[in-house]
Symmetry: C2
Subunit: 457 residues, 2 copies
């Protein structure tokens, strides 16, 4: 049987596949940092060359931001399958907390087996390469690629994907498929394979509050001049009430309570919040009373301060009343919450805290609604069976607290559903120092895609 041959080819080629991945990971494609613009393009070109060598019709496609890589195995296929991944990575600061060079990718042995160590190893270069390697093995066995593949590989996922929607709109006919496969998610926490059937949306905002036209001496002006850090702290502290509920006007419009089916599914996962938090040095879940931790993470919206800065932050002390203070704030959205309304409510909230002498400036950093999949589609059953075969355990339908806005974009712009399958572990430290990806995730992930492609043909 051909599938068995493909799986065998993957196993035999694993050392070479790992070498290819390490080379890819050594390109520091940090999309949010303008200094790495050239590296992001270099990563796109690396993918182009790899895919061209497999026989894909592939190009690096320019956008106003970082480029897209688009590849076809056969243009004009009747019911193509689209595969999505992103080749950009998160910033690495604070660099001092890394135990290894984030861009000198290496394989390391650990008590839990070999791991790939590098920024982007898990999110998302390692995951993206699982389907590329599956296609390589497929071609080696079948003599040609599966006929119905479209690959869309993005370089702006970690910086809000500003070019994605325009690109999808401009190239809708080329990109439209019967189904989108998105490889940017995790195994369930105990290593059980999983399909994510709902994702939170995201609204990102930067707020800058300004007062005097220069930094002031707090001895000379303290007591009469407005302090932007204090104004910002007051406005941000007031985002939540004493029960942890977000107080923005209309914030919970569209948030939906869990269905009984999902509640039962999620309860059956045996989620252990003490273990989940214990692995990051915490013990006590915050969040609203009466809601389970999974509900808080997957089905409830959040307001978080992701960064704040103002005044003197160096060594020692400086008694300054600063001219400005800044914060980066994000909201995770669920159900049918409207990103535009949440953004407007946030801006109105901040404005209410501004004293007469302060001004405020906002910058938008991405906005997308939550995605909730229709799991009645038979493709879900096929993918679930393929995953269950590979991992020897029944694949779970789960939620995710993260935001993969492209799932919503695929639905709204291209009219197609998404199947979210990934092989990361929740200890992969994505977005944190010391990111890793298990070699097992990479190897069995590649095998999983071979099975899924076979099952969906």
């Amino acid at each position: 049987m051909k599938l068995e041959q493909v799986l065998k080819a993957l196993d035999e080629d694993l050392p070479n596949a790992l070498d290819r991945l390490l080379g890819f990971l050594r390109i520091p494609s940090i999309s949010t940092d303008p200094a790495h613009k050239g590296d992001v393009r270099k990563a796109a070109e690396w993918l182009r060359d790899e895919l061209a060598s497999l026989g894909f019709d592939v190009a690096v496609r320019d956008t106003p931001g970082h480029p897209m890589v688009v590849a076809h195995s056969q243009k004009g296929s009747a019911r193509p399958l689209l595969f999505y991944g992103h080749y950009d990575v998160q910033p690495v600061d604070p660099l001092s907390l890394w135990e290894f060079d984030p861009f000198d990718a290496q394989i390391a042995d650990t008590p839990n087996g070999p791991v790939i160590r590098a920024r982007g190893s898990s999110d998302d270069k390692g995951q993206l390469m699982t389907f590329v390697e599956a296609f390589r093995a497929w071609k080696a066995v079948h003599g040609e690629l599966p006929s119905d593949l479209v690959l869309l590989l993005e370089g702006e996922e970690e910086s809000g994907s500003p070019s994605l929607q325009p690109f999808m709109r401009e190239n809708a006919d080329e990109l439209r498929a019967s189904l989108a496969m998105i490889c940017d998610t995790e195994l369930y926490s105990d290593g059980r394979p999983a399909i994510v059937t709902q994702l939170r949306g995201l609204v990102g905002e930067e707020v800058i509050i300004r007062a005097a036209d220069r930094d002031l001496h707090s001895g000379m002006y303290g007591g009469v001049a407005a302090n932007p850090i204090m104004v910002l702290a007051e406005a941000l502290a007031a985002l939540k009430d004493e029960n942890g509920r977000v107080v923005l006007e209309g914030f919970y419009d569209g948030v939906e309570d869990l269905s009984n089916q999902k509640r039962a599914d999620w309860e059956s996962l045996g989620f252990d919040v003490a273990d989940y938090l214990g692995r990051i040095g915490l013990q006590n879940p915050i969040g609203e009373k009466g809601r389970t931790p999974l509900e808080m993470m997957w089905n409830q919206p959040t307001a978080e301060i992701n960064g704040i800065t103002g005044g003197y932050t160096g060594d020692g002390f400086k008694t300054v009343l600063p001219a400005e203070a800044r914060a980066k704030v994000s909201f995770r959205l669920t159900g049918k919450q409207d990103p535009a309304k949440v953004r407007a409510a946030f801006r109105a909230h901040i404005a209410r805290f501004l004293p007469a002498d302060c001004s405020v400036e906002f910058h938008e950093h991405g906005g997308s609604p939550a995605s909730v999949m229709d799991t009645a589609d038979p493709a879900y059953t096929s993918v679930r069976a393929a995953l269950s075969d590979e991992w020897g355990r029944e694949a779970a339908f789960i939620g995710s607290g993260g935001s993969i806005p492209i799932a919503g974009d695929f639905k709204h712009i291209l009219g197609m559903d998404s199947v979210l399958v990934g092989f990361a572990h929740d200890d992969d430290r994505i977005h944190s120092p010391n990111e890793k990806y298990d070699v097992e995730s990479f190897a069995k992930g590649s095998r999983s895609w071979a099975r899924i492609v076979a099952a969906l043909r």
Copy 2:
């Protein structure tokens, strides 16, 4: 008359005195930045060499931090006068806001007359050199220095003076004088000469709040894991009530209402808050209802956030739940407020906002009570007359919102009162980019000290 000759000598030597000051200002003696430790010592040695050339018995005296420069015109004088200044300067960030190199000191012509441009030109190297130049001219005319001078020149004033109290205790007999002259203050805002008769104290604190043992992905953990920035914002926002009153327990213990005499003195100054704030781009004084702006700045305590940082603060956006957040917070104290009690109350306040999973660390950055002088001392009358003669206007008794802790230390450790006289202007931008000192301040300041030394002999 010898005084007239001294004043004439000062006028004639002004170009040389300015050259000396420019050389002194070119030493970047930033005491709060460990990278400039060598420069701080270099500034101390520059002063030692200058004073030695005038005939002072002078030495650079090591401390656990930056050195002191101590000089005597005659050891064992019966009723010495002590002169204090500091040769360290504030940091210069943000450097991008400077219109000139902060350490390439220059004289520049402006519509308001010539100014000395450099970090430290006003605070405090330029002021310190006013009395050094007065002594130089005195010696040129009299053939010898005044017999009763002690100079104490510090290199840690901008970083909390950690070595000052121990040094004063260890050298109390050598430093004790009949009166301390402190040159680190301003003219009144309209250019009227002034003697500061009360100063606010200062408590500086750095607070670090930590939660998870690493930075987290806000998609994976947002909703269940504590966010240290939010905890910090909530605790800091709650420092003041809706009327601007600081809520720390016992905070106002020891704060004293203005005497009728002071209230009348201060009202007679004709302080124009609209003008004062207008020059820094503000219009509306914050502060408690029913208190005048001068009262808020000089006679009321404050709580200010001087710096805050946490999470991702670079370009773009990063949806991180950070492991820690930090703030630098200071309190200006008045009357008999106890710095130790204020510090303890602040720490207790922060602790009350800590969720179970967060820890807190505090660092102390200086603490000193307010200083309120006894202006019945006849020396105040002599100094006031000398200043009034030089400037052609009656010198004012004023307050100051800043903190010159050494005035309190002189009182508590050495049992002597201080006379605070300085020649800075409130547009000198001390602690801010583009610091300057008027050449008039320098020239008439030097002449003022010659008159004061003559009057107090």
